[in-house]
């Protein structure tokens, strides 16, 4: 009860602090003195403290199962394990928005501390733009999704958290993803501030690159966590479904990756200034769009907590205001700096980075159209369509071939003007990749030419980066690690999709299923009771093609609150392959529907994404080693 009030009033207090901060900053903008007013820093810190208090009190309400709080009532239950009571705090609409706010205020405070060497006006303007976003979110939370609504009379039991959200990967997926999303808000605010101050320069590039890297790392890992969760929890054995809610997280990733690359051009050559600003604006807009599409209920999925049109309209207006504001500032203030454009040569690092950006924009437009077109068509003609994986595969996969080739060659070019060095060794690597691929792929697929081209492009990148990792010492190692990770990612995904095999059948207890791919024996089932669910554990013995027998124990869980049946896949992971078994129960029938999959190199997909982020992390902390 008390926690509720503390939480609510801290929120209102920190909204007031926002207004106060704005007025103090505007005053300070025109004052003399080199450093910003100390008051601003303290106020920003105070605001952060109040949001933390608010967030902690919500967590406390969840831990205590305080059902006088509507959010807790809707999303928690006394029998839920403590860990999921806590993670349930952000597993719902209201709490997750409070988390957004927390990260927003945290990041602007960190920004103020970390930017002491930057010009004063630039820092204050960044704070102002960020406060506009923060105020927008405060109003959104307080007006449409207050996490501290009272319920009277107090219910004795809550409604519970959707069981498929009760999962360790999903407990940390939203916070990590939000760190990435919200990090882009700092990039957005500071690029607008830099534009108004005509400060889009090498120095600014160096300073903002850290924020780009931080957001990029968190976004990458956040997407991966969601994907891992989908892999073992949704029971389809895939890790990416081209579902709209997945796509909306991928879109800012594309622009952020593009930004990450062209900010290097800005940092070294002070070129591409407008492009950097446009990318910064787009990235944040896409993050916001993601929130809008998911929260408004336009996209129905597990991420949609409630369909409330008021929320959608609020975010839409807010988004519109931000876009108009940012574009207005961009066109009013931005002056293109053309000094450096004179020495732009075709064969140079700059061009290769531009090519990367073009590819990113292409990938972005494919995903954007595939995601938005069905919504658009529904609105104008009320025709229901869906755009499935074949659309994306057909449009994205072929373009990976040139993309990978450019990726192998681009980093070897020098700035301004360059020649390709070590042509012979490159050609040898290339030929070796093609031959290797041909012999691997020959027996695996019907579409030989296409896969040879694709896989050998990936191998080419793999070997060139691998060689670089061994030969060169610390020169640009972060970039090499990240690109190596990417080649590994593409290779694992390709071989995973080519070599995966599956058996789907309906089977009774005691039966044996035989096929050329192996034998499945359904030994027995066993029932168990846990605190918040009952479970049926099935014992299967599976004999693979090589005669080895393994035991897999998938489960069917019947959760008590809310009553939902979920299947828990059992996965045996080795370095070479995952064995994946999931079963489903069809009500009133003695048959169990099972799906057994052998998925090669599954773990390498996750490892390579981690390598990709590790590259980013190295670039963040090891900056001094690089030239």
């Amino acid at each position: 009860m008390l926690a509720n009030q503390i939480g609510y009033y801290s929120l209102i207090l920190s909204l007031l602090l926002s207004v106060l901060l704005c007025s103090v900053s505007i005053k300070d903008l025109n004052s003399s003195g080199k450093q910003i007013n100390q008051k601003i820093l303290s106020l920003s810190f105070l605001q952060l403290v109040f949001v933390i208090v608010s967030f902690l009190s919500l967590i406390l309400s969840f831990i205590n199962s305080d059902f006088s709080n509507e959010t807790v009532f809707n999303n928690s239950h006394t029998t839920k394990p403590l860990f999921y009571k806590i993670s349930g705090t952000w597993g719902n609409h209201e709490g997750s928005l409070l988390l957004w706010l927390l990260v927003l205020t945290l990041f602007i405070f960190v920004f103020l501390i970390k930017s002491r060497e930057q010009p004063k006006k630039y820092r204050i303007l960044t704070l102002l733009f960020q406060q506009i976003i923060i105020i927008g979110f405060f109003l959104f939370v307080l007006m449409t999704s207050n996490p501290f609504n009272y319920l009277f009379p107090v219910p004795s039991e809550g409604l519970g958290l959707n069981p498929i959200l009760q999962d360790p990967a999903l407990a940390i997926h939203p916070p990590i993803l939000y760190l990435g999303y919200v990090g882009t808000s700092i990039i957005f605010s500071s690029s607008l501030a830099a534009v108004t101050q005509n400060y889009v320069s090498k120095e600014w590039g160096q300073h903002i690159k850290k924020w780009v890297l931080v957001s990029w790392i968190f976004l990458t890992i956040g997407i991966m966590l969601g994907s891992i969760w989908a892999y073992y929890e949704l029971g389809w054995g895939g890790f990416w479904f081209w579902d709209p809610v997945e796509n909306v997280s991928l879109m800012p990733w594309f622009t952020l990756t593009a930004l990450l690359h062209c900010i290097i051009v800005l940092e070294r050559r002070a070129a591409l200034t407008s492009w950097v600003v446009i990318l910064s604006i787009t990235t944040f807009t896409l993050s916001m769009c993601g929130t809008f599409l998911v929260r408004s209920g336009i996209l129905n999925s597990v991420h949609t907590f409630a369909n409330d049109p008021a929320r959608g309209i609020f975010i839409l207006i807010f988004l519109f205001v931000l876009i108009v504001l940012s574009l207005g500032i961009f066109f009013l203030f931005h002056k293109e700096n053309n000094k450096n454009l004179n020495n732009f040569f075709w064969l140079s690092r700059e061009t290769s980075i531009l090519i990367n950006n073009w590819f990113m924009m292409y990938f972005l437009s494919v995903v954007l159209i595939g995601t938005v077109y069905p919504i658009f068509l529904d609105v104008i003609s009320s025709e229901k369509i869906s755009v499935g994986p074949p659309f994306y595969q057909k449009l994205l996969v072929p373009f990976l071939i040139p993309f990978l080739l450019f990726m192998s060659l681009g980093p070897r070019l020098k700035w301004i003007k360059s020649k390709i060095e070590n042509k012979n060794s490159l050609i040898v690597t290339f030929v070796a990749s093609v031959i290797l691929t041909f012999f691997i792929v020959k027996n695996l697929t019907t579409d030989l030419l296409f896969y040879t081209a694709l896989v050998s492009a990936a191998f080419f990148l793999f070997f060139t980066t691998l060689k670089e990792l061994f030969i060169k010492k610390l020169n640009n190692i972060s970039q090499t690690v990240a690109h190596f990770g990417f080649s590994l990612l593409i290779l694992s995904i390709l071989f995973n999709s080519i070599l995966s095999s599956e058996i789907i059948t309906n089977i009774k207890v005691g039966e044996k299923y035989k096929s050329s791919k192996g034998e499945i024996f359904f030994k027995k089932t066993e029932e168990k009771k846990e605190s918040n669910f009952n479970t049926i554990i099935a014992y299967f013995e599976i004999k693979g093609e090589n005669g080895k027998i393994i035991e897999l124990k998938p489960e069917i869980r019947i959760y008590n609150q809310p009553v939902i049946i979920t299947s828990e896949a059992d996965i045996k992971t080795t370095l070479l392959e995952d064995k994946f078994l999931v079963m489903n129960l069809v009500k009133g029938n003695e048959y169990f529907n099972i799906r057994y999959q052998v998925k090669p190199f599954m773990i390498w997909i996750w490892i390579s994404v981690l390598l990709l982020s590790l590259g980013g992390l190295m670039s963040l902390i090891k900056k001094k080693y690089e030239k």
Partner: protein
Amino acid sequence: MYGKKVKLRFLFLALILASVILIVFLILQSLKENVVYFQSPSEIKFSVELEKKIIRVGGMVKVQSVIIKSNEVNFIITDFKNEINVIYSGAVPNLFAEGKGVVAEGFLKDKNYFLATKILAKHDENYMPPEVKEAIGDK
């Protein structure tokens, strides 16, 4: 004469324009080929021409219509006005049950038989795909 810089710019612009046109064309083309339309049992019944491409059919699983054999699942999708038989061999999602909403993807054999290649997983028992809600009216 134009300077080198201007020429370079023109080349750049032309290249951008050409690639944008190409990209838009490519995307629209494959959108046309890969879009999956949603139809209700009634729409299939009254359609003049039989759809040959992959479509999605949605509605309710008719009560007492599910028959499970060792290699396939048969059931009937109804929108309470018309119904269609579905033949499916594959994994059934958790929340597939008689009297619940369902969306199946596959091919039409004829107006009465639908060969499903996929039954779409739903995340939540109370959740009903908007298409299905519309297909069965306000029930």
